[in-house]
Amino acid sequence: MSRAVFAKTARDSWLLGLAALAAILALEAAIARMLVTAGETLDRWQPVLELPLVRNFVHLIMGADLLGDLSPTALATFGMAHPLLWVLAWTLLIALGTGVLAGEVDRGTADVLLTLPVSRASIYLSTSAVMLALTVLVSAAPLAGLFVFNRVFPLNAPVDFARLAPVSVNLLALNLAVGGLTLAVSSACSRRGKAVGIVLAVLLISDLVNLMVQFWEAARPLRFLGFLHYYRPLPIVRSGRLPPGDLTTLLTLAAVTWLIGLWHFRRRDIPAA
């Protein structure tokens, strides 16, 4: 790994990383505040949660039916499953992953970067190390935010954070898979816009598959294609255990895509900008 490339990538991305973390913490503050209100007026919310559309949507993001277990810990799980969390984390990962590999080629700076006495693998590793650090931070931030803001806006009963903690591990695996995919696509593209477009398209299609599965029984065989099929926070909270199958799938996807990216980046042509 090149320390200089790592330091430069970290310097270039800290502001974006900080902004994503701040946004996630702000979101958790809003969710913690909202949960207090929701907990106090649960009777009024119950019929809404029973609506098929809402029920399916909650099932989509939480990985299970919320009804029947409206404990404070189950409600707090919403703070680990809000779609905006994925938007923020994935925006950061896509911006970083495409900015360094495809972005360098696109801007023409790859010409000077890749003629340094630094191997392409080293540049890829340096970028990956920065991405990994930020992935850990954005994956841990929701739990940390919930923990802090639960003190500021306490629910009527204590939240069991020991049961929420494994969800962060599942979220980390999910984000690593998205990061790996981003690096694989970025390493193969010479235009940053194209790389961003491909990753967004894959994520959008994956989420659409998950959505379809919730509303259309015939689409159920396709559910394995959706990223969110492997991120089900509520069952983890209820069982208190990590799902080995989901984790294995996400981490394998992360490792395979990361390796494909490395393999391709080492071999590819770098065209003039």
Binding site: S2, A4, A7, D12, V112, P117, S119, I270, P271, A272
Partner: protein, 299 residues
Amino acid sequence: MDAIATHGLTKQYGTQVALRDLDLRVPEGRLFGFLGPNGAGKTTALRLMLGLLRATHGRAEVLGRDAWRDGPTLRRDVGYLPGDVRLYPHLTGAATLGFFNAARRADAGPEIRRLTQLLDLDVRRRVRDYSRGMKQKLGLIVAMMHRPRLLILDEPTTSLDPLMREALYGELRRVVAEGRTVLFSSHTLSEVETLCDDIAILRDGRLIEQERVEVLRQRALRHVDVRLGPGRSLATPPPAGLEISHAGDGYLRATWKGPVQPLLDWLAQGGVHDATIAPPDLDDLFLAYYATGAVEQAP
């Protein structure tokens, strides 16, 4: 030893051949001009030598190492200026040089200061605020700061003012005097002619000539203008090598190829009032190469 040796180097994009069977040898310690019209394959060849592109066939050896396989090791001793230099716009000139110095693990501080002074560059400003010429100067410093054994420059004088061009020429001559090698890609014929010891010419992805400048000069045409004294005429026939384009009214305009002595002897036989024999014009020779790719060999 050759600083660069390519063996049947070929780069193909689908059915399009960008570079075909390039066998080029750049001897160490020379200022080597790499000429060719736009799209001739110069940049492709340079990118193959730097490991930015992978050859379809053949190989490139740079400083005795395989350009693709041993890229990171050999690039310690190579400096490169791309034709269209792009650097990080948000960094200052000083931060840019600091980054490249750190990435090379070089201790190039004194050399950076010397080159910055030589090229008169303000490194406190951000690259995004630099003019094109300033970016070019920064790119040159990045390429030269670690005193590489081989300097590959793609159109290095683009955007430089005449004063800076002269400063760069002086610096490149100094580099070569130290035994280091410069590969200088350009399509400005005059600067290659005045600066380089050897020249290679590429056209349509093929190497069509590689020769010492001195040898090419002997093959080049000289423009000859002769004014005869009143009522005088030149002996006939004219010597081989003289191509007369105008003769009459006591005036002769022609081109001459080869050593000048036979021409001088012929002129001395006639009543010449005034004569001008211009230095060999490599521009004409190069343009002929560019246009046809084949030039009749000089005697």
